[in-house]
Symmetry: C2
Subunit: 342 residues, 2 copies
């Protein structure tokens, strides 16, 4: 099969790879119908040291089950399924708590002999515990929004849930990438009255407004913080959907004492300012990597009936062979989120 | 009047200070009946640079109202009152949310012309918003436990509340100081089934057992973490009542993914490990300086009827003139918490 492999920073190639086969009895092989490039894929694209073997890329995909192992009972060949961005057994203590991201037997696509999603097919471990069957046809117009459940929409939802957003809240979302925009959807969906979106790319913030943002702050740094205070008097809840220290500093500047910052962007720093200043202000730091598997079934009805349309974050479609261009276009910010069709 | 003043590390003196008088119409002057030395007083005692003027010490006291300003309506001369460890107007937006520690008009004893509690009398700003009237006589045997509401008991309670402790929980409390011991009381009071206390001073951990600790871990560092896992398999909730990086590392090692760490000890570090490792584990960091004023009325009935007896943390009483000895005894860990009688 053909699949995208990253060999180092800026070096993504579409190559021949072995066709996936059932290895463990809980495996399924899924023929990919649609996958995409994640904002988090851009971190290695910017900085990964060159490797000899390369790393299969992609952790968001949906597709059709082609083959199942002997222990797979909930899925059969021909089922259309969406994959959360990590696999999980849905049976361990963490999965039982809804924390599939910490599954005792879970793992990441593209590592440990598991294929990436940016390819023609994927061997999915713990298929029953991982994949969610979709009640639509493989040519449904809802496919982009269903694909968004793999990561960006379930991640945005995780931010809104862990920030404790409820009816009437004022929320700041830092970042106008796909996750930030999905966090706007999620905040609005959970009843936030006012959603301030911090972002400077007008095409993206316009989509944010369509998703429910009531205000947009284009200024950055201290100016941005000042603007949030001017608009709101400070906010009780922030969803930080970037991962940089600057984004965290914006969150800390905008949040009121006693407020909550939920982080969704993988931190690009090891140490952060959690000393006496944070402590005296009683700011809660929450969020983290989303347990996407736990949320897909919750959000699915809203996607199916059109209540939410996170698929609008996909603003360009590439063929699998064009995947290197998709990376380049996203890295150059010409594309918000690239959908890839094998 | 006589009052304790810190002039630098290790240098506490009891000196003549001006008698407090009403300055603002919301002030009250309180004649101190009992005060104490806080674990947090030991940080400047260890490290404060020498000063010319010195700093009046003490932020925990109870006493009798001697005089009130024209705007004070809820208190009158002769009332026995307890003071939370900061003053607050109980009228601003933060106080309305129960976050009196962030009061827009609040402040700290010993700063900005306000007396410390380790003295004969204190001018208390915003007396109506700060002081809580006690329905007992000034010679009540409950005084130590009522004094504990000033800080250590309300702080321990804040840890249990922000950690979200409820019925059946397993909790780790890191630190066997007065705050850690009060956190044990608070965790038990909110329904925790298992309370593991990490501390190495057997007199203190014995008191912790009396307060409801079900297990004691005397080992420190990695050994301590291993012991907590051995006992519990890891915990969902940790109250960190020390403030050092080692205590935070113990908390991080003992907590399960998706768990909560509530910090009560003022961090003795500016930066902490909140990078990808914490993020991927979905660990929530909460806690902070307690809004004591918000909790005193909640906890008061349990003190009055003897349900909780946090006053047991006071293991020695000093006269005001002996305050320097009280600091020394606490710094040397001969005394858990020193009560001071003017």
């Amino acid at each position: 099969m053909r699949a995208a492999v990253m060999h180092g920073a800026g070096d993504v190639r579409v190559e021949d790879r072995p066709d996936p086969k059932i290895v463990q009895p809980a495996d399924a092989v899924v023929r990919v119908v649609a996958s995409c490039v994640c904002g988090s894929d851009l971190w290695p694209y910017a900085a990964m040291p060159a490797t000899d073997t390369g790393r299969p890329m992609g952790h968001e995909f949906l597709g059709v089950v082609e083959e199942t192992g002997a222990d797979v009972t909930a899925l059969k060949s021909g089922d259309l399924v969406v994959a959360p961005f990590t696999y999980s057994d849905n049976a361990c203590d963490y999965c039982a708590k809804g924390l599939h991201i910490s599954c005792r037997n879970g793992g990441r696509y593209g590592f440990d002999g598991v294929d990436g999603g940016q390819g023609e097919a994927v061997r999915v471990p713990y298929a029953d515990g991982t994949l969610v069957k979709l009640p639509v046809a493989a040519d449904s117009a809802l496919l982009p929004s269903l694909l968004a459940l793999s990561d960006v929409m379930t991640t945005g939802h995780h931010g809104a849930v862990t920030a404790g957003i409820g009816r009437g809240d004022t929320v700041l979302v830092v970042g106008d990438g796909a996750v930030g925009l999905c966090a706007v959807i999620a905040a609005q969906r959970l009843g936030a009255e006012r959603v301030v979106l911090a972002g400077r790319h007008s095409a993206r913030t316009d989509l944010g407004r369509r998703f429910g943002a009531t205000d947009v702050v284009a200024e950055r740094g201290e100016e941005g913080v000042a603007r949030v205070h001017e608009l709101t008097g400070g906010v009780d809840k922030v969803i930080e959907a970037v991962g940089t220290r600057q984004a965290l500093d914006t969150a800390l500047g905008a949040v009121l004492d006693g407020g909550t910052i939920s982080r969704l962007g993988v931190p690009q720093y090891e140490q952060g300012p959690i000393g006496p200043a944070l402590f005296m202000r009683n700011i809660m730091l929450t969020g983290g990597a989303s347990p996407a598997r736990a949320y897909i079934e919750q959000l699915l009805p809203d996607v199916l009936d059109g209540t939410i349309a996170p698929g609008l974050v996909f603003d360009r479609t590439f063929r699998l062979g064009q995947t290197p261009h998709a990376y380049r276009a996203m890295a150059d910010r010409q594309v918000l989120k690239a959908l890839i069709r094998p």
